[in-house]
């Protein structure tokens, strides 16, 4: 089995807020991330797929197809958007980096031709990332 990883970037804004909590509780738990005007990041997405090397092409997966799927399912939906306000899955889930990784997995699962999704890693900043590997 070979793992292959492709990277993409998107820029988006968000804030952390739990409607069940008071303003004070949100401020206390989420700090400056709770600012209701939002703030933004340059996110880096790493999608890793697993599969066997095709003896004819030498590829695990057609990179162009993987790029197109990531662009269509994720980047075109998230890039230059406010995640809380404009991306459906974050009307109910707080767009933490963990939840973004899970949401991207769900958007991509089963859509990469010829390969199995292995890992989704989302960098919010170069020093901070979240990873989801499907149900373990």
């Amino acid at each position: 089995m070979i793992l292959l990883t492709r990277r993409a970037e998107f820029s988006a804004s968000h804030y952390y807020w739990n409607e069940q909590w008071s303003d004070e509780e949100n401020q206390r738990r989420f700090g400056k991330c709770a600012n209701r005007n939002g703030h933004g990041h340059n996110y880096t997405l790493e999608v890793t797929v697993a599969g066997e090397v095709d003896p004819v092409t030498g590829f695990v997966v057609d990179l162009k197809q993987l790029k197109d799927v990531m662009e269509r399912e994720v980047v075109s939906v998230y890039d230059h958007r406010h995640l809380n306000l404009e991306v459906p899955e974050f009307r109910t889930a707080i767009p933490t980096t963990e939840n973004i990784a899970v949401a991207i997995w769900r958007r991509l699962e089963g859509k990469v031709p010829g390969a199995r999704l292995h890992r989704v890693r989302v960098y919010e900043m170069p020093d901070l990332f979240a990873e989801y590997r499907g149900q373990e």
């Binding site: 952390y16 739990n18 069940q20 738990r29 700090g31 889930a93 707080i94 767009p95 933490t96 980096t97 963990e98 939840n99 990784a101 899970v102 170069p126 020093d127 901070l128 990332f129 979240a130 990873e131 989801y132 590997r133 149900q135 373990e136």
Partner: protein
């Protein structure tokens, strides 16, 4: 739903690679310039990855402030701007980055909540890194049995 959260931290320290069980000539042969008697230093990068269930209320695996507190207390305060060879942890072990990685894993394990899995990756330079994870340790223990 289980996810993983990783964060990088940095500290600077000096060390000398030299085993008391080897002769000067053998130390020189094994460790090369790393055995230089006066030591040398690195800017270490420590990547800590914790894994666990995403809290449905906060959307988080682990509060970053909590993680920062653990790493500062157990790792950065202990190692930053120190000579690793002079620390108790390396009194009987050569402070290679392999051993440093294991020491960091053990120190953090004491602090990190037990329901979280823990992995540690230490970069000595941008070209060298060492990794230790509990799943790897479990596999090793499985092989021993």
């Amino acid at each position: 739903m289980k996810a993983y959260l990783g964060r990088k931290y940095r500290f600077s320290a000096s060390h000398r690679l030299c085993s008391e069980r080897l002769s000067d000539a053998d130390n020189r042969a094994v460790y090369g310039k790393c055995a230089n008697p006066n030591g040398h230093g690195h800017n270490y990068v420590v990547e800590v990855m914790v894994g666990g269930e995403i809290d449905p209320v906060t959307g988080m695996v682990c509060d970053l402030v909590e993680l920062d507190t653990w790493v500062s207390r157990e790792i950065l305060e202990a190692f930053d701007h120190q000579n690793l060879n002079t620390l108790p942890a390396f009194a009987n072990r050569v402070p290679t980055t392999e051993n440093l990685c294991i020491e960091i894993q053990q120190r953090l394990r004491r602090a990190v909540r037990s329901e979280l899995t823990l992995g540690v990756r230490v970069e000595e330079t941008s070209n060298n890194f060492f990794e230790y994870s509990e799943s790897a340790a479990q596999q090793e223990r499985g092989l021993e049995r």
